[in-house]
């Protein structure tokens, strides 16, 4: 069940996480990296889709930062 479409590369996810680890010994398993890539993808797609819904509700023809700002609080609470 291979998925097509954009995704976060495992290598990038690893670098992003390691940037913030406090302990040098902390590692991430391969499966966890793959799962984190999925989680990040969902985060972005949710931000995008919720912003679109907000723009649609306001009867706009494109999404601007104002729409994102309105959906951001709930998005951050959900994660």
């Amino acid at each position: 069940m291979e998925e097509t479409g954009a995704a976060f590369r495992k290598e990038l996810v690893s670098k992003l996480l390691h940037l913030h680890f406090k302990d040098k010994k902390t590692k991430v398993s391969g499966d966890a990296l793959q799962l984190m890539a999925e989680l990040l993808k969902i985060f972005v797609v949710e931000a995008a889709i919720r912003s679109v819904r907000q723009a649609q509700a306001e009867e706009l023809d494109h999404v601007d930062v104002e729409q994102l700002e309105k959906v951001l609080p709930q998005l951050l609470l959900d994660f």
Partner: protein
């Protein structure tokens, strides 16, 4: 002289961060493009940049939490259970992530089985021809 070295190191760290941010921005752009096509609604450049910024910042929270979860479990390697804990705040998110985890585990299992079968096939041929060679020399 020490100050110069520290300045150079600071500069390197900054550029590294910038490169990571750029990589995130690229992926965020691709994902937003897919949503835009699907929903027939365009995103302004500023919106994509803002989503990218938020995502980058959210990674810090994720990383810190993951490290703590693993440490709480007395491990130094973060595993999928730690990642699932990150998704605990939303029921539908947790469900989705749990299913994804099972898909990933299944896919990896299939890949391993394929590799093992391939190895066995390749080696069965060489084992068979070695045995055939032995039989011939015995006759």
């Amino acid at each position: 002289m020490m100050e110069e070295e520290e300045g150079a190191e600071e500069q390197q760290r900054f550029s590294y961060r910038q490169r990571l941010k750029a990589a995130v921005h690229y992926t965020v752009g691709c994902l937003c493009e897919e949503v835009a096509l699907d929903k027939d609604m365009q995103f302004s450049k500023q919106t994509i940049a803002a989503i990218s910024e938020v995502t980058f910042r959210q990674c810090e929270n994720f990383a810190t939490d993951l490290e703590m979860f693993a440490r709480h479990g007395k491990r130094s390697t973060i595993n999928t259970e730690d990642v699932k804990l990150l998704a605990r705040r939303s029921h539908s998110l947790l469900k989705y992530i749990t299913e994804k985890n099972e898909d990933i585990a299944q896919l990896n299992l299939e890949r391993k089985a394929k590799k093992k079968k391939k190895w066995e096939d390749e080696n069965r041929n060489s084992v068979e021809s070695a045995e055939a060679g032995v039989e011939e020399s015995e006759n």
